[in-house]
Symmetry: C2
Subunit: 339 residues, 2 copies
């Protein structure tokens, strides 16, 4: 018995160590263990993260009055309570409009680690990305001057901007989006997987380690790599066309490339794929094997990869729900039914 | 100079003391200073408040999957970030439906102190009230068995119910509503006004005390009394008809009585009145004087009452945004566009 246990430990240890190297060689990277290192990695050098900006950005992220209707905030479609997304196949926005391309809301958690934003990768970073949905007709539908009008109508927001950026700050639409992005940059969720890659060989169970190995051996890490296990542009339907490609008119960027979604917290972001047509994780894994890798994954392999993916459930930051300032007589009035 | 200051203090003190008595004689009551006393006052003897129930109730309050669309939670229309309401004239619900009676969402803060719930007072308490909007077609539109199906599909909810109520708990629709109500019972916001009524004569400024006196002298406390400064059924348009009575078809209960809204945090709950047709507080005060008291309040009186009402801005409880369980394969699927 003792011998068996010991050999078990030795086996784990050896598998753990070599698997960490394998993972690193496959391009997988951990979220650093040290919070200071995470802050350095996620902070925008042109607009460094500070506590005052994060707090203000959080208020704006939860602020429904940034939308034309006064009802929709960033958090409506990227709901931090349910994995940073909305659980919808296609996003629903202003006046209950379904996303015209049939696109699903990607999670905001760990989006800071993406090298491109949006499914077609048209945006280079969160500061730029945050400007899109606020203005988009089917999402929050708010013109730039409406948004700045809302924010500057409330003295508490004006002084929060001054505290965050200095007395002379001009509150522009772009600065509002920048501030939301600073908050989003903090939405990082370290998991047991990171502890494992950072050297704690016991952080993943044997079954999870086996799943990670299958994930690497089958080629999943070719696209799902780096810190996000995703986030770059890749060809889609490489070997065979995606089963539900006809749902919605999205065909990727001009070269047909699609931004790879993160696999962190993937257990919370169903339904899957850009048009949300895949309901379950096993089905998503199988379909990916078929269309991207040209392999017919058997049930054991699917289960093993799924077991690994579950270890990517991360620890979410604690978010105290913000108390927002009261509207004033200067706050733009909304006619939610007619406008 | 010294004499002047001293006489000022004496005057304050004397006015303060007699004004507290006047306020109490007018039926105004403070939220108790002692948190234990508040808990005793707000707890439902048939379903006593416990930390486990409050935490679970908070999750359910923020849970969009309780709605038929999966998009609307209690917090959508009773948003705790913006005064416990939505800033809309008439509430918007399922598939962007405007409230069919043109009714505005009342704040959930301090609603525990109401003796009747809903604008027509048809519900006796929060436990009963919470069942309404979840099921109502123009609000969350979810049948009872859909709601219990959602909750019981997620093991984390099942164990949270067991922790809160014991292993044998049957998760019914009514129990879900009860649990939301337990959370709502904690949404109490003590203010400087309470500190004043509880004996701290310096808690209100001279101008606020003067406003309180005007409020009492003009008769506002006839309806806006007790802890909520509202919450009972009263005749509406006693002296003259409300200017915007023709907006929406709401005519009160069968006797034409309307539930009086709380004045706590009233600076955050514009637009005003049951159909949200009054944009500003001064206009609301003037209209109330005209239609309920038969007095034409002059600008000074209106400003004075407004100054007092501002002191009713209370301290909101700190709410850590809940992290909700992931949907499972058993969670009812939603077709948000067609259903």
């Amino acid at each position: 018995m003792k011998t068996l246990i010991l050999s078990g430990i030795v086996a784990t240890s050896v598998m753990g160590a070599s698997l960490i190297d394998e993972a690193k060689n496959a391009g997988l990277k951990a979220i650093p263990a040290n919070p200071k290192a995470v802050e350095k990695l996620t902070s925008n050098p042109k607009n460094p993260t500070t506590a005052a900006k994060v707090e203000l950005g959080k208020m704006l992220y939860f602020e429904p009055r940034l939308s034309k209707s006064g009802l929709i905030s960033c958090n409506t479609c990227h709901n931090l309570a349910i994995g940073g997304t909305d659980g919808m196949a296609a996003a629903i926005g202003h006046k209950w409009t379904s996303n015209p391309h049939g696109l699903s809301s990607p999670t905001v958690y760990n989006a800071v680690f993406y090298s491109q934003q949006f499914w077609d990768g048209r945006s280079p970073h969160l500061e730029d990305q945050a400007q899109g949905p606020i203005q988009a007709g089917p999402e929050m539908a708010a013109p730039k001057d409406f948004v700045t009008g809302v924010v500057t109508s409330m003295p508490q927001y004006v002084s929060a901007f001054q505290s965050a950026y200095g007395k002379d700050i001009k509150i522009t639409f772009e600065k509002i989006a920048d501030t939301i992005a600073v908050f989003e940059r903090t939405l990082v969720t370290p998991s047991r997987y990171d502890a494992f890659l950072n050297g704690n060989k016991k952080a993943l169970t044997q079954a999870e380690q086996k799943g990670l190995k299958t994930f690497i051996d089958k080629g999943c890490a070719t696209c799902h790599n780096d810190i996000a296990l995703g986030g770059t542009m890749q060809a889609f339907g490489v070997v065979a066309p995606y089963k539900y490609m006809n749902v919605g008119d999205f065909k990727g960027d001009k070269n047909g490339m699609v931004r790879v979604p993160t696999l962190r917290n993937v257990t919370q972001s169903a339904p899957y794929f850009h048009n949300g047509q895949i309901a379950t994780l096993p089905e998503a894994i199988k379909e990916m094997g078929r269309i991207q890798l040209g392999v017919n994954l058997n049930d054991e392999e699917v289960t093993s990869i799924q077991t690994f993916l579950q270890s990517l459930e991360g620890k979410k930051p604690t978010i105290v729900y913000p108390m927002l300032p009261a509207s004033t007589e200067k706050t733009p009035k909304v006619d939610v039914v007619n406008n």
